[in-house]
Symmetry: C2
Subunit: 568 residues, 2 copies
């Protein structure tokens, strides 16, 4: 389950005083975190610098600002988008199938192909001619349709994230993280922190160097936080995590102290795998996913990907002893797929397709997983679909019992298995350690101690080894500093969206009680989904909720919900 949360969670954005942004490390393909999945990391996208292939799309070294031939520039823009789309579509398919249906011997070839396609997009986007064309068009909005204006803006932003790093440094980093990934894999299996330590220190140094290339003089961690969430910074995350910590740590302590724990017993039993796949399909229907645009596959670590607005891929997993894992994976991934397949069709085949940010994406998935799926009003409908497929084990289960089981809080060692309340604390711990590493206040050798201290202090549990401790996640081995924090904030957006809907007259609980998701989905479609990447998260929140993002909705939600459940 190591990568499950990588595959599931997207980026986050800011609160007051913080410029909200969009993750742009994807260059148009909505779920690049999938590429991490045992194959390659986000930075692999930049390795095109290594090639000697001249860059296509270069119509001569034109003078940037003067626009002599707008028709040619617009044709070049369309042409660029065609090729980016084709490569992104192919990568989404090849990447998704490599962890689902491809035979094992093909995986080396598919990794190579993904790397070449990434390189091609990098070259297309970073070529001088593309830069000049985008710059000329950006200064002549009067020549562009509104859609083209968005394309130029988003493509320029994507390009700026990639352009500064020298080929040799990027190549060295790619080699280092590829090697580190293997070392990490073995270290995790052998619970051998010492073997991984020197690699982690080298990665930290390299990420600092790359950050300096990207934004000379800036704080390195700020640069990487921004990499994964446009506009994010330590200033923002410090404030955000402080607010979460202040609420969640004492709330969790109260939950544990109260001694009232819901047993898993009412849902226990053996749930046939074949029937669980039929259940999974019914859950897709319950969420209202378009059957003619969806493919459901089996995989080890669930994910969603979307080659085009007409094509959503959900890959999931069933465990015969844990039917709830299936239920909430499907509701979660279905949220991602609803977003991707409900982007305005006119943005398909352009850089504007797909979700606007990881944070906004995760808001959708968590919305259906938690705000809908773990809502007491909706429990009778979940129970109904469970009973349809498993009348035996769920025959005597009540909706109230189901609600309590699916909202059971329990501190645990493994982030990806954490419940709704403890999850942000797992992220908080990683954020604090990353911050110390990037500032030079700690090195890799300090991590086991930092990890153990914080798990004890925030979650009240003892870490027995590094395999279940700091070696559990792949991110650092792949050089992904600044990525973890985006997870913690995903859910927070959903709480605010929920509150906004209610304020605007949507009878949220009543609709869930009726099993009628249509008005809720229509609100999300109009306010969020249809816009694709044309609106940043900040603007979406402002327009949809009438105010900037605030984490208070999230902390209030957690306090209210878990105080009620545990009778605090």
């Amino acid at each position: 389950m190591t990568y499950a949360a990588i595959a599931r969670v997207r980026v986050v954005f800011g609160t007051v005083g913080y410029t909200l942004g969009v993750t742009t490390h994807r260059k148009g393909s909505p779920m690049s975190e999938r590429k991490i999945n045992g194959k390659k990391s986000a930075q692999a996208e930049a390795k095109g610098h290594e090639t000697s292939l001249p860059i296509p799309g270069r119509p001569g070294e034109a003078t940037p600002a003067a626009i002599d031939n707008p028709k040619a520039d617009i044709a070049a823009l369309n042409n660029l988008e065609r090729h980016l789309f084709a490569h992104n579509y192919a990568s989404a398919c090849i990447g998704s199938f490599s962890t689902t249906i491809d035979p094992v011997k093909s995986l080396g070839d598919s990794a190579e192909v993904l790397s070449i396609l990434d390189q091609e997009n990098h070259e297309l986007l970073c070529s001088t001619s593309t830069g000049d064309m985008l710059q000329r068009l950006s200064k002549h909005h009067e020549l562009l349709t509104p859609v083209q204006q968005h394309q130029v803006r988003i493509l320029q932003r994507d390009r700026n994230k990639l352009i500064g790093i020298p080929a040799s440094d990027q190549a060295a980093f790619t080699r280092l993280t590829a090697e580190s990934y293997d070392v990490w894999r073995r270290a995790k299996a052998a619970d051998d922190w010492a073997s991984f330590e020197p690699y982690l220190d080298r990665i930290v140094i390299s990420t600092r160097t790359l950050a300096e290339f990207k934004r000379p003089g800036a704080d390195a961690y700020d640069v990487w936080l921004d990499e994964f969430e446009h506009g994010a910074s330590t200033a923002f995350y410090d404030e955000f995590f402080a607010q979460v910590k202040d609420v969640v740590v004492p709330l969790l302590a109260d939950v544990i102290a109260c001694g009232r724990q819901q047993s898993r017993q009412p849902i226990s039993g053996k749930y046939d795998a074949q029937r669980q796949w039929a259940l999974a399909r019914d859950l897709m229907e319950l969420e209202g996913l378009d059957k003619e645009a969806m493919l459901l596959l089996e995989t080890e670590h669930p994910f969603t990907d979307s080659p085009s607005t007409n094509y959503g891929i959900i890959a999931s997993h069933v465990y015969e002893d844990d039917v709830l894992s299936n239920v909430f994976s499907m509701l979660h991934e279905g949220g991602h797929a609803l977003y991707e397949t409900n982007v305005d069709p006119m943005y398909n085949q352009t850089s504007l397709k797909g979700g606007t940010s990881s944070g906004m994406h995760e808001a959708q998935s968590r919305f259906f997983e938690n705000y809908v799926g773990r809502n007491e009003s909706f429990a009778p409908h979940l129970l109904e679909v469970l009973r349809k497929h498993f009348p035996g084990p769920t025959g005597r289960l009540t909706a109230r019992q189901l609600f309590l089981v699916i909202n059971r809080v329990e501190p645990s060692l493994i982030r990806t298995e954490a419940d709704e309340l403890t999850y942000p604390l797992h992220i908080l711990i990683r954020y604090e350690i990353e911050r110390l590493l990037m500032s030079g206040e700690a090195t890799a050798s300090d991590i086991p101690r930092l990890w153990a201290d914080r798990y004890k202090s925030y979650l009240g549990i003892r870490v027995p080894n590094n395999a279940q401790g700091a070696l559990q996640d792949v991110h650092w081995a792949q050089g992904l500093f600044g990525y973890f924090p985006t997870y913690a904030f995903g859910s927070a957006i959903g709480a605010q969206l929920c509150a906004a809907m209610v304020r605007q007259g949507i009878d949220f609980d009543g609709l869930l009680a009726d099993g009628n998701l249509t008005p809720i989905k229509e609100w999300l479609r109009i306010n969020i989904w249809q816009h694709g990447r044309t609106k940043d998260s900040e603007q979406i929140i402002q327009d949809a909720c009438g105010e900037p993002f605030s984490a208070t909705y999230f902390t209030d939600y957690l306090v209210d919900k878990y105080s009620a459940i545990y009778g605090l």
Copy 2:
């Protein structure tokens, strides 16, 4: 079943006095006939001419013959191969999945992506810089490894097939055939020949024009025969078909006249679809396909594709009332997959991967379908695997009965449903009509009459309508003149290979009786499979059999086999 044979059959090659060749319309992706499958035709590969995107890989307009910087040229060669491989790998995956697992709404997007990837490969291969680089390297073999020498030769040949046609003519042809495909589809459904007629006449005229661009002054049909089988011509096919006609037409007449017909009754029954998929997997194992390199999918029209030497995709179909369709589809497709996945791994990720020609490919598939699968010695092993999954319907079936049922001869209207003996006559008819159309001796309005006359004369049956007549195949609507003849010869190679094995001491029937395919496959691997595209069919046959190709092995085989079965 219209496209089944397109997906299954490859190219053919010549006899004495005819330069054997390799099909090069694929540019490295082994089974481009799949692209015909409802999406696009072979000529779509050339439509890149339309684009305004400058051609990548152009390191300046170097002087062709002088080689100043061999290192740079070899780097450019490797770089070209990387990009061609990535695009071909992606196309093989996207193409295969579009007719198997992709959701219906995604098909427009996947068609667009396939077209863009084709265009990219066309531009890469046809750029001036690629031409110059290949020419320089071809004149300096002393600088190249043997593998690189093959790469340069094959890439030059692939390039030469594409380079001569002006963009505007190619684009017009692509538009015409796209339109014609839709007209044909409706015409076939409505049995409306008249609506298709004007399109077919226009296509014939266009193919003549394109042929003139490809090889000025040459006979147009010769050009197109060569397009689908390097080195083929009307001179060769006239001789080949004359030999086949002289033997098969009277042989078939004797079979029909003898009045001894094997009933299908012994194998009739209902064969559960789910169990048939288990049977299909067992047949893959019986053929010795590598499970770790194979993917089995469900589709309407069976096909095999192969993104890399490590990845074979078989797509098949099961009918609950026809278990034999499953058995022989799997044996046939398995032969293709054995070829593709047994190419020397050192040719993977280059233009040398994949089968050397359509004829040689079909020789492999027909080998396992007919020479192995329909051999009386092998019948007990087929029966065993059938009985394992279907003990009821096959419980009382004998191996002799099974052998007779699977070799039942019956003249029929539909090419793709034809038995081993009548199949070449279906192709002969198409060849004769194509020849008349291309020479101007007939136009589209003559076809229904030409068709009916020949089906009566060669097969002894009456054609009741055009839907079951000249509208049954998609090829002409897609502008694929010269493609059909390659089908008729596919099987002929297999007969000669079989005879060579026996001459070289392989106890063919004895091994089949033992169910031991290993020595037979090893002979094929060493003599054919491992060479990929490095050896042309002519050389393969000469080296493997010690003589040039001869159709006599095929006609003798048919006479011996069917005389024995029908007691003639």
